[in-house]
């Protein structure tokens, strides 16, 4: 609208671009360099060291399994929450508030919360004892019970991470015009058909945002796992943390960081391709 003042928008975005260049692009390049160099010369030593480590394959497997198990469940619960709350008039705000509380809870706190429930003398065992399912304390978080440990971590992640998916989905559902559903209802579509054929396609952009965000966050999972499983359940970010802080080896830590980036980027691209969204509606 204003050709004579075309410099204004650039002036407005300049600070943020400069900031991101300095603190996002530069360290990104540095991470890649740190990972693929040794004493200042290009070298695959760090990557080799990473891949030879005993926890490498396990941490990749665990991270992927956790993501695959957690993200769909979170999406399903969020959709259920969204459809339920749409039918509520009074009290809607309070219900939504309660459901969004985990949004503000850090993964570390979530890990501690579930530790209090699932530790040997915790509430879950107490409940099972009260129901007569177990005769004495059962352990769920040890290396001998990898399946139970996996479920414990998944449950904690679902508890904490569903809120953000729910917020995005509910916001998306709010934007679906009532007329669409009413029209479908008049044409005799049942609730399931309406949901699959009308609602889901219309909230595609929200779905895409939610999936990208949640999947990237799932690959970053760390503190929940650390609090619940300690060393028993290695994940990628946890390994990066150990190499950086405990072993003081920054090169291998950076190699892990690059690996996580590649995986996250690939996942994002897959979502962008798989869930096509009208480019007009992209952020």
């Amino acid at each position: 609208m204003t050709n004579n003042r075309s410099w204004i928008p650039y002036l407005l975005i300049l600070p943020s671009v400069a900031f991101l260049a300095l603190l996002f692009i530069v360290p990104l390049v540095q991470t890649i360099w740190l990972a693929f160099s040794d004493n200042g010369v290009p070298s695959p030593a760090n990557a080799q060291r990473m891949m030879a480590d005993i926890n490498f394959t396990r941490s990749i497997k665990n991270t992927f399994l956790l993501t695959i198990a957690v993200v769909p469940v979170q999406l399903a619960i969020a959709l259920a929450m969204g459809t339920m709350v749409a039918k509520v008039g009074r009290g809607r705000e309070t219900i939504l508030w309660v459901w969004t509380i985990p949004l503000g809870i850090s993964d570390l706190a979530a890990g501690l919360v579930w530790l209090s429930i699932l530790q040997n003398s915790g509430y879950f065992n107490s409940l099972l004892l009260g129901l007569g399912v177990i005769g004495r304390q059962a352990s769920w978080l040890s290396y001998q019970t990898p399946v139970a440990l996996f479920f414990a971590i998944a449950v904690a992640e679902i508890w904490r991470g569903t809120a953000i998916v729910m917020v995005i989905i509910v916001a998306g559902l709010n934007q679906v015009p009532k007329e669409f559903r009413e029209a479908a209802e008049i044409f005799g579509a049942g609730p399931w058909t309406r949901f699959w054929r009308i609602t889901l396609p219309l909230i595609r952009p929200a779905l895409q945002s939610a999936l990208i965000l949640r999947t990237v966050l799932a690959f970053e999972v760390f503190a929940v796992v650390y609090a619940l499983g300690g060393r028993n359940f290695p994940v990628l970010v946890g390994e990066a943390y150990n190499w950086q802080n405990q072993n003081q080896n920054y090169g291998v830590a950076a190699a892990y960081a690059v690996l996580i980036m590649i995986i996250s980027l690939a996942a994002t691209l897959i979502y962008l391709k798989a869930i096509k969204v009208d480019p007009e509606r992209l952020p």
Binding site: I54, N120, S121, R136, Q137, S139, L141, S142, Y143, Q144, T145, Y226, G229, G230, R231, N232, N245, Q246, N247, Q248, N249, Y250
Partner: protein
């Protein structure tokens, strides 16, 4: 990069230390780190000695910080409290103030000369003042004693007897009753370096992949069948002991103390078991030292004298479970829990087959990777059931590289070496 790190740490430390009151004497310690212990240090042990800022730091960060301050030539730390092995690289770089006068005074006050000589770190002058002693012992609930195999003396156990005992306990109670601190912050690596390897092989680094070691690992696998699987989550054995999750546990005395002091009548405390080469044990000596160029040397000297005073040494023992370096008799009424722990320490030292093993020396900031070698071997052999020989060979290569990189010479019980300690 190291230099940049150092500079930055110094800069930030200056910032960090400059903001609070400048009159404070900064006391950095790698010991007594957990919240409760640090609170006791601040509120009780350092109460009447002026304005002290007691800062705790994990060993790797401590090494980086001290090296950074030395390179930059700006000291913010006036007093350091750390293990013998953590102080020795500082002495190697000649960055500790000689403390001979203080040592003379303390020798007259009843500190054993043998202990004071440790504080010379092989030099002609006194590098640090021994502050506290500790070691690792085993503790058991009294009700576990009924399952002790016939003819076994709890104060002179062997690994075979321990396995037998563990088996009987599991059969009787239906649950594994032995616990080890193999969690992320547990001290399990010290078990391998000070107890397991010396007892089975008579060495730590040299004998890492020997046939004796392989046999030892097989024994440990046999024992582990009766070890509570939650052990890989335990950091402090006092908690599972108090919670009744295990009946028998191995750990650092300070990490057993809370459970035992809370119910001294319920426990027996005894030495770790012996293997074919003896009863390995690792005494821990923590020392106090003043870095060269410390901003408040006088304040630091005053704190050392305070912490080495008989009443403070006894208070330290009763409150945090570290034993005096002074030759003082623990009074009968001190704390029954501490008395039990002290009894086990005496029994360990007095046992005929005792085999002393020192803390790793000369590894600098590679201490974490050194521990990782032992913990990775443990994870692969015992938890993941991989073939012992393959694991020891692979981890032995990592260990050998680590020793050449750090050029650390052998320490007891390994035979002395010229140059880096070899993995045979």
């Amino acid at each position: 990069m190291k230099r940049l790190m150092s500079l930055g740490i110094v800069a930030s430390t200056v910032l960090a230390f400059a903001s609070p009151v400048l009159a404070q004497t900064v006391f950095v310690s790698t010991q007594l780190r957990p919240i409760e212990e640090a609170t006791i240090v601040r509120e009780e042990l350092l109460q009447d000695v002026g304005d002290v800022d007691y800062v705790v730091e994990e060993p790797p960060q401590f090494a980086v910080r001290m090296e950074a301050e030395r390179q930059a030539g700006t000291r913010t730390v006036s007093l350091v409290g750390a293990l013998h092995g953590e102080l020795s690289p500082l002495a190697d770089r000649d960055s500790l103030e000689p403390l001979d006068e203080l040592a003379k005074k303390l020798a007259a006050g009843g500190m054993p000369q043998s202990l004071l000589d440790l504080g010379k770190l092989g030099k002609s002058t006194q590098q640090y003042i021994p502050w506290m002693q500790a070691t690792y012992v085993m503790a058991a609930k009294k009700e576990a004693l009924q399952y002790l195999p016939a003819g076994a003396d709890v104060n002179a156990l062997t690994y075979d007897q321990l396995i037998e005992w563990a088996k009987k306990m599991q059969e009787a109670t239906g649950q594994p009753q032995i616990g080890f601190p193999a969690g992320p912050k547990g001290l399990m690596a010290r078990y391998f370096q000070g107890y397991f390897y010396p007892s089975f092989t008579g060495g730590v680094v040299r004998t890492f992949q020997s046939a004796d070691a392989a046999a030892g690992w097989e024994k440990l696998k046999a024992l582990w069948a009766y070890v509570n699987p939650n052990s890989t989550n335990y950091d402090f054995m006092q908690e599972p002991l108090a919670a009744g999750e295990v009946m028998v546990a191995w750990d650092h005395v300070a990490r057993l103390k809370n459970a035992i002091s809370a119910a001294p009548d319920d426990y027996v405390v005894f030495p770790a078991p012996a293997g074919p080469k003896g009863r390995g044990y690792m005494p821990v000596v923590a020392g106090l030292a003043i870095p060269k160029g410390a901003p408040d040397k006088d304040g630091a000297t005053k704190i050392i004298e305070h912490l080495a005073a008989p009443d403070v040494q006894l208070l330290t023992a009763s409150r945090v479970g570290f034993f005096p370096t002074l030759n003082v008799k623990l009074p009968e009424d001190l704390d029954p829990g501490v008395a039990l722990l002290a009894g086990a320490v005496t029994a360990t030292q007095a046992s005929k087959d005792a085999l002393i093993s020192l803390l790793p020396v000369g590894l600098g900031d590679k201490g974490g990777e050194f521990n990782k070698v032992y913990m990775d071997s443990f994870q692969r052999i015992v938890l993941q059931n991989e073939p012992v020989a393959d694991v020891l060979k692979a981890q032995g290569q990592t260990l050998a590289k680590l020793m050449t990189d750090t050029k650390a010479p052998c320490w007891a019980p390994d035979a002395k070496s010229d140059g880096p300690c070899p993995v045979e």
